[in-house]
Amino acid sequence: MSINLVLKGIFSALFLASVLRISTALILPALGGLITDLSGSINISLEGTMLVSAFTGVIVSGFSHNVWLGVLAGIAAGVLFSALLAYFHLYLGTNIILAGTALNILASGGTVFLLFMLTGDKGSSSTLASGVVPTVNIPIIKDIPFLGTVLSGHNIFVYGAFVLAFLINQLLYHTKFGVHLRAVGEDPVAATSVGINVRKTKFVTILVSGFLASLGGLNLSMAYLSSFQRDMTAGRGFIALAAVYLGGRKPWGTVLAAILFGIADALSNQLGTLNIPSQLVQMIPYAITIIALVVYGIRNQQKLIEQTKRFQERELARSKSEQQD
C-alpha cells in the first residue's frame, strides 16, 4: 500500500471515529487514575482492574447469554478488585505501589488460569459466544456527512466516557466529597484538623477509580472486540496514568491527553498496512507516551524554576522595602 493511501486513511472520518473508539479504553481508566492521584494514592493497578473486568464481563455474558449481566458483573469484579488494593494499602499499611503491582500480576495470571479452566483455551475466549454492548445512532447528527461518521454509531462506552468525564469534573470541583478528596491528597494533616476522615475518603476514591477502570476494561472485551484476549489491556492502565500527568491532573486535560495517546494508537493501526516492520509501528503509542512525558517534565521544571525565581525576587524586594520603613 502506498503512503498516499495511508495519508488518505488518516485524514478521513473513519480514522477520527476510530480515534474516539480507541481512546475510550484510555479515557475511562485515566479518569480513575486522576481521582486517586488527586486523593494522594497512586492506583497502579488500573491495568489489572481493567483486565479482571474485561474477563469477567465476557465470561458472565457468555454463560448467561445476557450482555447487561456481563457488564454488571464486570463492574462488580473491578470494584471488588480495587477494594482489595484499598484494604491492603489503607488498612494493612502495604506500600500502594507494591500492592498494586502484585494485583496486576495476579490479574494477568489469574485471568489466563480461569480462562483455561472455563473454556479450555489459554489465549482467547473466542470459543465462547459472549455479548457485545449496543451502539447508538444519534438522530440528526448521524445524517450529517463526515460529522455523522465521526460522532454517531459508537458503542455506549464511548459516549459514557465523555459523560463520566463531565461528572468527574463536577464531582471534583463542585461537591463536598470532591473538595475533601483534593484536600486529603494535598495535605492530609490539614484535612484531618478540620475533621475530614482521610482513610474513608481515600477508600471511596479507590473504589470509584475501580469502577471507571472496569468500564475501560469492558469497553475492550465487550465493545471494541467481542472476546477476551490474554493481557488484552496491553499497558493501557499505565498509559492512562501517564495521561493524568500529561493532562496536568485536570479532568478535561486528562481526557485530551488520553485522546492524544488514542491518536498514536490509531495511527499505528493505519501504518500497519505500510511496508514497515510491524514491531516498530506497534511501538508508536508507547514511544509517544515517553516523549510526551519528557516534554511535559521539562516544561514543568522550567515553569517551576521561573516561579521560584519570581517569588524570591519579590520577597527580597519586599523585605528590603520594609527594612527602610
Binding site: K176, A183, D187, A191, G195, E315, L316, R318, S319
Partner: protein
C-alpha cells in the same frame, strides 16, 4: 465568677519519659489576652495542645465554664469553643482563601457546593473582625500574613470563643505583626478570649492583659502585665538551679581560623533570618551562641556549613571563601558539623554504624582501594571509634537505627571528631540524649578545643553554653545583640536580657570583641 477555663494539676509525661507538664494550674478569664511565656521546652505548647485536644493529659482536669470536659481530638475542643491558630498553617495550597476557611464544613445546596456562600461568609467574617483576606485568591500565592488571617477566620467560622495563638509572630514581618495585633484587639472587642504563646517579652508587654511564666514544665507565676517588668519576666524564664561542673583547662587562644563578614539570609518565605552578622572564630576557643530558638541560629549554622546559600556576606576559612560552596567543599576546608537534626541530617538510619562513620571519607585512602571500598579497613575503623567514643553496640554492622538517641549522637560525634577538623560547628549537640552521653560529648568538645580546634557551639540549653564556652555571643531576631569575651564572668540573667532583646550592645561596643 468562675474563670472561663480552669486547668487543674495537669501532668503530661510523653511516652519517651519526658515530663512536659508537671502539675500545672492555669486559669483563663473571659475576654482577656493571656500571654504564656517560657523558653523552648518549658511546656507551654504542650499545655495548650492539651487545652485544644491534640494531646491528652496523663492526669489532671479541664473545666470550661465550670463544667468538666474531656477532649479526645481538636474536633472535640472546637465543639466546646476552643481553637488553635497553628504556626504551620493547616491549609490546602491550591485552594482559594474562602475554600480553606470553610474546609470540612462547606456550605452546600443539595450535593452541589455553594461557592458564592463560602465567599460571602469569608467576606463577612473578614469585615466583622478586621482580618482582611482576598476570598478568591489561591492560598499558595498569598503572603504569610494573609495566610495567618485565613487560619484565624477558619476557626472563627466554626464559632470558637477561645483562640490559642502559638507563637504567631514567629513567621511575620514587623508590619504584619502590627496588623495582627490590631486584629487581636478587635477579637477581644467582639467578646473572644485569647491565649498568646510567645517568648518575645516586647510582645507580652504590648498586647497582653495577664502573663503566665512557665519553666521546666511548671508555672512560675501569673501576674497582670502592667505589674510585670521585662527584666522580672526574663529572670523568671531563664533562672536556673544547677550549674554543670565541667573540667576545663585555661584557654590557649590561637590564630583566627574563620571570619564571618556581614552575613545575611532570607528564608523561602521572605523572612530575614540573619541580618549583617559578623564575627571571628579563633583556634583553641569555644565560641558559644546563646539565644532562644528561632532567632537565626539554625540558619547561621546551615549557611556556614554549605547547606544554605546566604543572601549576602561571606564566611572565610583560611582565606578560602566557604559561603556558597557545597557541604563537601566546606568539609574539605576543615569544617566539621554536628547537625541539630541528627535523624535526618546527621545519620543514615538504615545504614550500619561502620558505614555512617566513613560517609565523609569513603572516597579517600585507606578506605578506598582501587575502585572499591576496603571493608576490612572500614570495619577496623568502626571498631576503633566504637571503643574510643564508647558507643554501646555489640558490633558495627548493626544499623544506626538500632541505637538509642545518645549513642546515635555519639556516632555523629565520633565521625566529626575523627575527621580532625580545624573548625567544629556543633548545633544542639546534646539535645534529647541521656545524661551519660551528654557528659561524654561535652567533655569531648572541651578536649577538642584544648587540642587547638575552634569550636562554634550553638545550643538552646543556656547552662550548656555558659559552662562550655570561652566567649559567648547572643542572637536575637537574626542579629548579634551582645558579645561576652569572658564567658565565666557573665550571669545568666544578664545573658537572658540580651537573648530576649531587652538589652543590646552597640556596634562600637561589640566590634573589638567579635
Amino acid at each position: 465568677m468562675a474563670p472561663l477555663v480552669e486547668m487543674h494539676n495537669i501532668v503530661k509525661i510523653y511516652s519517651n519519659g519526658v515530663v512536659a507538664n508537671n502539675g500545672v494550674d492555669f486559669q483563663l478569664e473571659k475576654g482577656e489576652i493571656h500571654a504564656i511565656v517560657g523558653e523552648n521546652g518549658a511546656g507551654k505548647t504542650t499545655l495548650m495542645k492539651i487545652l485544644y485536644g491534640s494531646e491528652q493529659p496523663t492526669s489532671g482536669e479541664i473545666l470550661i465554664n465550670g463544667e468538666p470536659v474531656v477532649f479526645k481530638s481538636p474536633v472535640d475542643a472546637m465543639k466546646k469553643g476552643v481553637g488553635m491558630v497553628h504556626q504551620n498553617f493547616m491549609q490546602i495550597p491550591s485552594f482559594t482563601a474562602a475554600e480553606n476557611v470553610v474546609l470540612g464544613h462547606e456550605p452546600a445546596k443539595g450535593v452541589r457546593l455553594d461557592k458564592k456562600k463560602a465567599i460571602e461568609v469569608t467576606k463577612e467574617l473578614s469585615e466583622q473582625y478586621g482580618l482582611f483576606v482576598e476570598p478568591t485568591a489561591i492560598t499558595e500565592t498569598i503572603n504569610v500574613g494573609m495566610r495567618q488571617r485565613i487560619e484565624i477566620l477558619k476557626i472563627l467560622y466554626l464559632g470558637v470563643e477561645i483562640l490559642i495563638f502559638d507563637e504567631p509572630t514567629a513567621v511575620l514581618t514587623p508590619q504584619e505583626t502590627k496588623d495582627l495585633f490590631k486584629a487581636v484587639r478587635v477579637l477581644i472587642e467582639k467578646g473572644k478570649t485569647i491565649v498568646f504563646i510567645t517568648h518575645k517579652l516586647r510582645e507580652v508587654k504590648e498586647i497582653s492583659d495577664r502573663v503566665t511564666v512557665m519553666r521546666n514544665g511548671k508555672i512560675m507565676g501569673t501576674m497582670k502585665t502592667a505589674d510585670a517588668t521585662k527584666e522580672g519576666l526574663a529572670r523568671m524564664m531563664v533562672g536556673r538551679e544547677v550549674f554543670l561542673d565541667i573540667h576545663k583547662p585555661a584557654m590557649k587562644r590561637g590564630e583566627k581560623v574563620m571570619s564571618v563578614q556581614d552575613l545575611s539570609y532570607v528564608s523561602e518565605t521572605g523572612r530575614t533570618m540573619l541580618r549583617d552578622l559578623s564575627f571571628n572564630l579563633y583556634a583553641g576557643e569555644i565560641l558559644g551562641v546563646a539565644g532562644v530558638e528561632g532567632n537565626g541560629q539554625t540558619e547561621l549554622v546551615e549557611v556556614l556549613t554549605g547547606l544554605r546559600v546566604p543572601a549576602s556576606g561571606r564566611a572565610v576559612v583560611d582565606e578560602i571563601e566557604v559561603t556558597g560552596k557545597t557541604p563537601r567543599e566546606v568539609r574539605q576546608a576543615g569544617v566539621a558539623h554536628i547537625p541539630e537534626d541528627r535523624l535526618s541530617n546527621g545519620l543514615s538510619l538504615a545504614s550500619s554504624i561502620d558505614d555512617n562513620l566513613i560517609v565523609d571519607r569513603f572516597d579517600k585512602p585507606p578506605f578506598k582501594k582501587g575502585l572499591v571500598i576496603d571493608q576490612k579497613v572500614v570495619e577496623n575503623n568502626g571498631k576503633k571509634l566504637i571503643k574510643e567514643f564508647s558507643i554501646l553496640t555489640p558490633n558495627g554492622e548493626l544499623p544506626v537505627s538500632s541505637l538509642s538517641g545518645g549513642n546515635m549522637q555519639k556516632v555523629v560525634v565520633a565521625r566529626e571528631f575523627s575527621s580532625d577538623p580545624k573548625i567544629l560547628i556543633a548545633a544542639q549537640p546534646t539535645r534529647g540524649i541521656d545524661v551519660g552521653a551528654t557528659e561524654f560529648i561535652r567533655d569531648q568538645l572541651v578536649k577538642k578545643r584544648t587540642d587547638g580546634a575552634a569550636v562554634l557551639l550553638v545550643s538552646a540549653d543556656l547552662s550548656e553554653v555558659m559552662s562550655l564556652s570561652d566567649r559567648i555571643i547572643t542572637m536575637f531576631e537574626g542579629e548579634i545583640t551582645g558579645v561576652f569575651p569572658n564567658a565565666s564572668k557573665v550571669g545568666e540573667e544578664e545573658l537572658g536580657y540580651y537573648m530576649l532583646g531587652v538589652k543590646r550592645q552597640t556596634a562600637e561596643e561589640m566590634e573589638a570583641m567579635l
